[in-house]
Every structure is written in C-alpha cells, then in structure tokens.
Point group: C2
Chain length 499, copies 2
Amino acid sequence: MAEAAANGEARGGGVPRPTNPMVTPLLTDLYQFTMAYAYWKAGKHLDRAVFDLYFRKNPFGGEFTIFGGLEECIRFIANFKFTEEEIKFLRSVMPTCEDGFFEYLSSIDCSDVEVYAIPEGYVVFPKVPLMRIEGPVAVVQLLETPFLSLVNYASLVTTNAARHRLVAGKSKNLLEFGLRRAQGPDGGISASRYSYMGGFDATSNVAAGRLFGIPIRGTHSHAFVSSFMGLDEITDKALTSSDGSNKCEDFVSLVQNWLTKIQDGSSLHGTFGETSQSELAAFTSYALAFPNSFLALVDTYDVMRSGVPNFCAVALALNDMGYKAVGIRLDSGDLAYLSVETRKFFHSVEKDFGIVGFGKMNITASNDLNEETIDALNKQGHEVDAFGIGTYLVTCYAQAALGCVFKLVEINKQPRIKLSEDVTKVSIPCKKKCYRLYGKEGYPLVDIMTGEDEPGPKIGERLLCRHPFNESKRAHVVPQHVEELLKCYWPGKSCKRKC
Amino acid sequence: MAEAAANGEARGGGVPRPTNPMVTPLLTDLYQFTMAYAYWKAGKHLDRAVFDLYFRKNPFGGEFTIFGGLEECIRFIANFKFTEEEIKFLRSVMPTCEDGFFEYLSSIDCSDVEVYAIPEGYVVFPKVPLMRIEGPVAVVQLLETPFLSLVNYASLVTTNAARHRLVAGKSKNLLEFGLRRAQGPDGGISASRYSYMGGFDATSNVAAGRLFGIPIRGTHSHAFVSSFMGLDEITDKALTSSDGSNKCEDFVSLVQNWLTKIQDGSSLHGTFGETSQSELAAFTSYALAFPNSFLALVDTYDVMRSGVPNFCAVALALNDMGYKAVGIRLDSGDLAYLSVETRKFFHSVEKDFGIVGFGKMNITASNDLNEETIDALNKQGHEVDAFGIGTYLVTCYAQAALGCVFKLVEINKQPRIKLSEDVTKVSIPCKKKCYRLYGKEGYPLVDIMTGEDEPGPKIGERLLCRHPFNESKRAHVVPQHVEELLKCYWPGKSCKRKC
C-alpha cells in the first residue's frame, strides 16, 4: 500500500512519522506563520528562545495529572519539513510576504531544536514544565500548536483513565469502549491508546489495538440479539466438544433442555417464566460461533427474567461439551442490584447442578459509567468484575480540556515573562531545571524548579520550598534521592552526542 | 508525495477517501467482527437489515441539533474494502474463526448497502433518523462504529458553533481558535470544519483552511511581544507607503513621534504613562512585516496603560503611510470594560487627530469565551466586533458528547425493537419515512415519521401528531408544503439508477 508505506516511512533519522498522517507542519495556527514572517523580517528569526510547555491546574478537581503525548511530539519534530505543496499553499495565504521567507521556511527542520521533557506516563503537577523546548524562535513557535494539540488531550485522557483505575480498584478489569462517542476518529484512537497508558486493560477499538498492541475485547450488541426471530433460524446446530472427542448434532436441543431444567428442576423454579426466544437463538448462535469465549449481553429484553436464564442455559450446554462460558454484560438498569441478583442466580446454578466455578462467572457492566457512578456502585455493593467505559472516559466529560500552554521564558539568554490581568496567567520566567525529591521511604515528596544555573538540591540537605498543594504554605524537605525531571529527548545539533 | 496521492485517490467510483486516512474499516469495535462471524456461521450474514442512526436528546439543554458528518460517512462506504494486511490482523485477533469467514470479509464492499439521510447542515431533532442504512446485516453492523464516530462529534460541534452564532448575533465576526485545546489533531481539524458549517467566519487552523477552503486568520501571540527587548532591535526601519509613492526611512521614529503626541498633545494626556518598549518594538516590527493587516494583541503587559496607546501610535504612523490598521485583540481581563475603554480611546484619537474612521477600529476578544460569557458580555454592554473562541467551542465543554446511536429497526422485512430497563433507550421499530411539514409562512412546523408503506402527509390535510417539544401533548398541523427528509445518498446495487 502506497499509503501504509508513506505512513510508516521513517524520515527523521529512524524516528517514525506521527501516528496520524494529518499531523503535518501545517497543523498549526496561522499566527505562528505570521509571527515567523515578522521575526524573519526583523532578522530575529534565529534568536535562541526557550519555551515551557505546562498546565496551570490539575484536571477533574484532582491533585495529579499524567503526562501523555511526548512520543508523538518527538515523531513530529523528527519529521518536520515542509513539502513544496505546503509552501505553495502558505504563499497563497500570505500573499504579501517576500519570497525569501518562503525559501527560509523550505529550508528549516528541527535539527537546531532541543527538547527536554519529563518521561511520558509520569505523574506531573501544575506549573512544572512537562517539556522545555529551545531553538530558533521562529521554528519553536511553529511547534507550539501541534505540541499542545498532541499533549493536551493525551495527558487529559491518560489522567482520566488513571482516575477511573483508582476508583475501580486494582482487581477489576477496565475496558475502554469509547470509539463511537469520541471527538472524531483520532480522538477515538488516542483515547484507546492513552486509556491503556492510564491503566485500562483493553479496548474495543480494533484500529487502536493494531496500532499500539492493546488487547482488544468485544462480543455482541443488542442488534445481534434482536436480529434473531427464534431457534428455528439456526440451521447448523452441531458442536464438536472442546477436546474434539465427541460431537453434539443438536446443540439447540441441548440448550433447550437445560433451560427447561433451570425453569422446572432447580431452586430457581418460579423466579422467571418464558424467556425471549429471539434472545435464546442469538445466544445459542453466538456460542456456536465462539464456544471458547461465550459472553452474552443480557439486557435486550429483561435481565433477570430472560437474559440471565437464557445465558445460563447456553453456558450449561457448553459445559456439557467441555467449554467454559466467560460471563455476561449488563448495559442498562440498576447495575448494583442486577449484578448482585445475577451473582445469586449463578451461585444457585452452581449449587443445583454441581457445576464448580459457575458462581464465579464474569459480570461486566457498561452504560454511561464514570468515576462517580463506579464510586456509587462501590458504596452500594455490587458483583461487577469488569467495567466497560466509553463516553465519560474518552470525551473527558467531567472536564473536556486540560489547558496546557506554551510560553516563552527566555530569549537570547534574557528571561521573559508574560504579565496578565489574570494573575494565574502570569508566566514563570527563565530557563529552568526541575527536580523530583524523594523521601526516606522512596516516595516522591515534591517537585521543585530552579534557574538553569542555580545549584540543584542535594541529598540530605534541608530545603525550604512552597507546599506542593497549598501555595500559601511553605515546607521543609530533606531529599533522600533527587531525580532530574527534564531529560533530553531531542538533542539539538550543538549537542547531538550529549544525550 | 506518495501519501498525498494515496489520500486523494478516489476508489469508490469517484468519491474521495475519508479526509482522515485513519478512517479505515478497522476503525470499529471488535464486536462488529465477532457478530459478523456469528452471523456468517449461522448463515444469516446476508439477511437484509435496516438500521436507524439517531440521537435521543438535543445537546446543551437546547431544542435543536445540526447534522454534520454525512459526507465523511459516504466517503467511508464508497471506499470500504479490507486490505490484505487488515484481514491478516483480523485473523490474528480471531484465531478460532474459520477461513471462509475471512474470505467473505475480503470480498465485501458497500455496493449492497443503501444510505438515506437528512442533508448535512439541516436542523434535526431527537428520535428522527439522521440516516437510514439498509443492507446485509453483517456489513451494515461493520459501519455502526465508524458512522457514529464520524457523525457524533461533527453534529455536536456544528450545533455548538450555531449556538455561539445565535448568541453572538449576525453582525459579529466569529473566529475558531481551538486547535491547541481540541481532543487530538483530528478533533481540531473536524472542529474547524464543522464550526465553519455551523456559522463561524474563519479559523486559525491552517491545515483545516487548506483542506476545506475555510478563511484563515491570525496575527501574533504574547510570546511575540515578550520576545522583543526594545526598539533598538529593529534594524530595517524603512517602510514604503501603500501607494508606493514615498518611503519612510525611519518608521520607528515615526511611531515614537506619534506616541509622544498621544501622550502629551491629546485629550488622552495623563491617562497613561510610559508604555512597554518591548511591546512597542513588537508592534512596530509586526506592522513593518504586515502594514496592510496590522492587528495587535494588547494585553501582554497592561491593556489601557500600554497596549492600546502603543497600538494607536503604530496605527497612526501606518496611517501616515497610507495604510489602515485593522485593530486589536484582547485576551484577558474584563472584556466588556476593556472593550468600552478601548473604543473611547479610539474615538479620542479620531477626534484629536482628525483621523476619520479610527474610532471604528476592530476589537477582537478571546480568552475562554463561550455561550454564557458572550451572553454576559451582551448584557453588560461591550464594544467587541469579533470573538475568537477555542476550548469551549471545540471540546463542546458544556456537553462533550452527543450520544447518537445506531439501532436495528427491521430485518428481513420484520420490525425489530430493543427493549430496555431505561425507557428512553427503547428503540422505535420499523423502516421509516420522515417528513418535514411547513406552514403557511414557509417555516417548518414539525418533523414526523411514518412506516415505509404508510401514506405520507398531504398538503392541506389536517394531521394529528405529537407536539414536537412536549411529548405528552398532541397538536394538529395542516402542512402547506411537505419535504421528504431522508434522501438517497448511497444507492444500493439494486437501485443504482434510482437516485
């Protein structure tokens, strides 16, 4: 494929191109080009500038953020080069600019740029630069918008995923189901990638699974269930046993027999009546297609009166053939109540029919879940083993933007500040070094910033700094270990061998 | 460029590929493939199914939605075909599936699928299908996730843009500035495209401007201002007049003279003291680069004491040379107050120096604007001519997802319904026709749905229907004009000549 080849092709000394082919040097604000021209006209375009990329406030009312998007930024600058078509388009947009400027634009790449950054996936805090970008002012300005576009959402959704992991607990399976509700196709792919980085176990998104090696999960939807009319639609009814030793010629009858046994010959007698035949046909068909991984969506008609009994009949029939069903998914209703009732049903089946382990069948819940609803489920008590989370995770519904900024802090070795009518928007000047200080038990205590030429913190030496979560307080710390946070990810020409 | 060629290449009978090359048949949920396999195993994959794509509730607490994303859906199906690499990957994900299934997948395209839809850009309402997709059940299921991914955000952001246009009024310029805060690069590009469709005038996003022919706007940032130290940095001080008739060898001195005149020789004497020389140098440099389109960001230091006076000095110097400055941008502080004070300043300059039209200089406002803040500005009274809107527009902060769904309504001519523990999630069965009824004055009154074979509404004939905004009420309407809403956008093989 010409396209695949173009996408995969590495131009920047072995660094592949950005995952999304739409990430090109034109994916930026026009003012980056008008400024570049003004710098060039003033002969200032090569002035050495330092910019900090940082955010001002943790998202979701929380006290941490996880940094995501660095790899894509590096891919972007490694391959940063205007094509002839792009230059032609820029000429049409800025018709009054001199030819020399477009010749300059054609010539630039990022070999003069240095990027220092906190490693991707690290916990990060407001005001401390996630990235420090240094280079010719005109070039570094051109990076502002793409870098922000690549870091803002990535960090936001990684943080959102981590928060969902914290509230769900380590033992639960977290599945990202958001592609259909994400903000565009790339939003969906980024959401899957960064949710995995933030602690999710799998995604429903096949393209993201392929691109990033994320485990992919999925079974069937309500439409699959309602597309069946009844069991007579199933023409190929045979199922070979798990070990290949025998073949059941009529798996449909086996399922029907089990349903009758549950209905009439078990402690569950009377808890439900006639189940949906459309649903039973769908479950049976799905089991015939995937006998090793049968997981059924049980709320198309009625969870306790149809979905769960139908599931159990199919699961018991599979059990006869040596297969172990996986479990069920609930996608509506009172998930706490339904999961508890379903678990009881499973335990009754285990006991009545002596099927060891049946009570432990997996229960997955979905349906507009988020941090608050999972927390509420935890408080109510539930029997859910896995959560499928979509809309609220991928759109970061609780706070849809992080608000990273990219600010000039030094030019030609002179510190620069941006003042503002809003105090929170005043930038912290100077090229900085950043350190994470760790205490005796190995836990991080605080992140601090110093001017580039100031001495760094020393192990065992008491240091007075602002309290990390309360700006009006100060605190003494004695670091037992000091980590320099900003590491070199893209060395400039001048220091190609340094990193 | 191999990449550009691949992206632009039309495969689907002249219909170009999706704008984002990441939109491939793998951009879907795994369960679409597991279901396709189960359908195939059951011999049901060719069953003729009808799905409706619709939403359940208008976003932003409002009473309308604008439909966006249709063109991309048609591009997607026109080019729908699995590559060998994609099939290979699917085999690895579904290792227990039979070879015949992958041969079937390799063979499919969307020539058997029919798509009827409401035209893109129309005002649309809950429950009425935006799209009706008919075809082999296994194929149409594969379209669910990409269609939702292409329609959900597109419609949401178009609606958001239209709401901003309504609150801002027709006379204001609306500029979309959201790329850096969008949910990923594609979110940014889609936001620009659909904001324009929703009524915005321009975007800052160069790539979107190029792709969709949207006017592009932008001047400079705070960093540009703070990158300058002072006027002595400007080496090339000459400016030729607009008509080419004369040349000012020292435009910098001309600016300084004007600043002195405003400071000392005008009614503005005493309203401000020494202005920022860094800012004055930046403005002067920018004017030298773009004398025809000088627009200055005036809040890097202090709007009324530095930014506005500096801007006026440069604008007056440009005026001497026959150029008309465009105006200023405010990006922080009390925008209502600052815009009013700035306007007064401009009027004083007009009066003091007899520069006709100076008082009407453009004032653009940005800084986290949204529907509510624009409404509040309107109530306070302001002098803003143009709004630059970013984060709240492109992330749809007030409601980050629309929640379109894709539901099976008919299979093999049998109506299908999805029941649910949540009443709002129950689907409306049957293949439908949809009509928009117009009243005497030509305004639309209501949208109605009928079964496919039911007679449609007739002009002049009284009709009882549900009230469009209150489900518990009913209303009589007498249509003067009837529009069939679902139009054919992708004819199936069987009706290739029909549309």
